[in-house]
């Protein structure tokens, strides 16, 4: 420590200039490197600065550095006692130079807890015990290791602010350490950004965690739903089986007797058995519709698309309806527009839709009426089928209820029309399932027009 003493006690006036030149050079370097990674050794810096020194007016430089308000420059002796405390330091710390010079070390202006942590960390890093005082601030610099670190500074009034400090050891010609230079900047803004970033990161992590948990919950729900769906499917299958078994006997025996296979019947017997048969078939239709609906609702509906000629299928369905139409003297016309030939759809469901619309049209049209089926190509992708009747029509206020489950319009105690009330509901679901839609125009007493629009082709797909 001898040389250090002599540096400060002997010939201070001569060495002061050298000191300031060094100081100026260090500051310039540090500023240039934005307080980071000045990969130039102290020796090189010192030499360069000495060379430059001749060209620089030292007093101006001294004043500039001393008066710089944006950087705190604190120089200490080798023991750490503050020898220089510039305007920037005064401004940042709230101390006057006179309060600290020759009185305290920079360690006393720092957060003591942080010093303890830093000393402990350095002790481990450098494998040597380092005391949590000034040594902790300058130890690396004293070993010639470049050192820039963050630190919390404590102002005279006790308030704190985050700082970034760069430490350099000051050496004499014999490279003995004669003191330390600590250059600091107020890092409040930087810390704020960092804190905000950390908060944002925390928030992002929290969101990610929440998402992860939600996904896990969703997975559980999905598995449960899949199980429930499976149970529902088993249930549907079993309900279907149990209902069909007795219906087999009801419909079968009624049919067998009406056909007089076991023996002749009188007209009344035949009439009553016809009623049994009709009711049985109605019940069967109801079961089929309810099961279809349940399949749609539970996502069990599967499409089986195939390519077929629209005209042929419409004619096939019309042939089934023709018998009833004929009995009521209803004229059934089919008009297929130009260009509409083959489509790729679930043929069975398309037939069911057509059958529902045509049987409705015939059912709700009085004797001697007309039912017209008009199929047209709409564009390259869609076609429409209009079913127009001259029937009883639908009241405007009933239109919205038309596609509701079990709501046959005008359903009183004595229903005039046979039906499950599920036909149009299923029709709509079947259409929507294939990317189609249905609309209706009607005037009470003068008939209805049901229009369905379907894509020319639907890809094979399943719900669920």
């Amino acid at each position: 420590m001898g040389p250090t003493h002599s540096f400060w006690t002997e010939g201070i006036a001569q060495r002061w200039n050298i000191f300031f030149v060094m100081l100026a050079g260090v500051i310039i370097t540090v500023i240039n490197e934005a307080l980071h990674r000045a990969r130039v050794s102290n020796e090189v810096v010192s030499r360069e600065l000495m060379e430059r020194a001749g060209a620089v007016k030292l007093e101006i430089l001294q004043t500039a550095i001393f008066c710089s308000a944006n950087f705190s420059c604190i120089a200490t002796d080798a023991r750490g006692v503050i020898q220089l405390f510039n305007v920037g330091a005064e401004r940042m710390m709230g101390y006057a130079a006179g309060d600290v010079v020759n009185k305290v070390t920079p360690a006393e202006l720092s957060d003591p807890k942080e010093l303890i942590v830093r000393a402990a960390a350095l002790s481990i890093e450098l494998e040597t015990p380092i005391s949590p005082g000034f040594e902790a601030l300058v130890f690396k610099a004293s070993r010639g290791i470049e050192d820039v670190y963050k630190l919390t500074k404590v102002r005279k009034n006790g308030s704190r602010f985050p700082a970034i400090v760069s430490v350099t050891a000051l050496r004499d010609e014999k490279t003995d350490i004669i003191g330390y230079l600590l250059i600091g900047t107020d890092n409040t803004a930087g810390q704020k950004i960092e804190d905000e970033r950390r908060l944002a990161d925390d928030a992002r992590l929290a969101v990610e965690q929440a998402l992860h948990e939600a996904n896990a919950a969703l997975e559980v729900t999905k598995t449960a739903a899949e199980k429930a769906n499976l149970a529902k499917s088993d249930f549907l299958s079993s309900v279907s089986h149990e209902l069909r078994t007795p219906l087999n006997a009801i419909i079968g025996f009624a049919e067998f007797m009406i056909d007089e296979k076991p023996g002749a019947l009188n007209p009344k017997q035949k009439e009553y058995l016809s009623d049994v048969l009709m009711s049985g078939r109605h019940l069967l239709q109801l079961i089929n519709d309810v099961l279809d609906l349940a399949k749609v609702e539970s996502g069990k509906m599967v499409l089986h698309p195939e390519t077929f000629a629209v005209r042929k299928v419409i004619q096939e369905v019309a042939a089934v309806i023709k018998g009833v139409a004929h009995k009521k003297h209803i004229t059934l016309q089919i008009v297929i527009g130009p260009g509409l030939e083959f489509v790729t759809l679930d043929q069975h469901k398309f037939k069911q839709v057509l059958y529902n619309l045509l049987s409705n049209a015939v059912k709700f049209t009085d004797d001697d009426g007309i039912v017209v089926v008009h199929a047209n190509l709409l564009d390259g992708k869609q076609f429409e089928v209009r079913v127009r009747d001259t029937g009883i029509g639908i009241r405007a206020e009933d239109m919205s209820r038309l596609f509701n489950e079990f709501e046959q319009l005008d359903a009183g105690p004595a229903r005039r029309f046979e039906g499950t009330g599920l036909g149009l509901v299923l029709t709509k679901k079947f259409l929507e399932f294939q990317g189609g839609c249905i609309s209706v125009e009607s005037e009470l007493g003068s008939g209805s027009v049901f229009t369905i629009v379907l894509p020319l082709s639907v890809a094979s797909m399943e719900t669920a």
Partner: protein, 138 residues
């Protein structure tokens, strides 16, 4: 075309319906309420057609069909599933188990005898082509 037909069904009323409809068509009918009963009939008679209910007490009809397919004597007998399982996919299950056909209940009593004759003809043709070329006029 009169044939020996075994009907396996645990529901006596449905058993009666199917038997009576087919008896009216002058077929020779055998009945069983489960696979055990069917075994007893099969020990005495080799039918031309077995109408097999699927949901049976004890062993189900499809398992029984698979068994019969592994046995030399019954390997080529025409077996048709006659079932109230009418959901999509049930037909494929029946065919996969070795059934030659699949008819759902409720049966259409007017069409059912025609379907039965169709199965018998197809079975005859199949067996005539593969197993017994001499036996083509039944």
């Amino acid at each position: 075309m009169s044939a020996k037909i075994l009907v396996v069904d645990d529901n006596p009323i449905n058993l009666k319906l199917v038997s009576d409809v087919l008896l009216f068509e002058k077929h020779e009918l055998f009945t069983a309420a489960d696979t055990g009963g069917a075994r007893t009939v099969l020990a005495a008679v080799l039918p031309d057609l077995i109408l097999m209910d699927i949901a049976l007490p004890g062993m189900d009809g499809l398992t029984f069909t698979r068994q019969l397919r592994t046995e030399e004597r019954t390997r080529d007998v025409c077996i048709v599933a006659l079932t109230a399982f009418a959901m999509k996919g049930d037909d494929q299950k029946a065919i996969a188990a070795g059934c030659d056909g699949y008819v759902t209940k409720p049966i259409d009593t007017r069409n059912f005898p025609i379907q039965v004759v169709g199965f018998l003809r197809a079975s005859c043709a199949k067996r005539g082509a593969i197993a017994r070329p001499e036996n083509t006029t039944r």
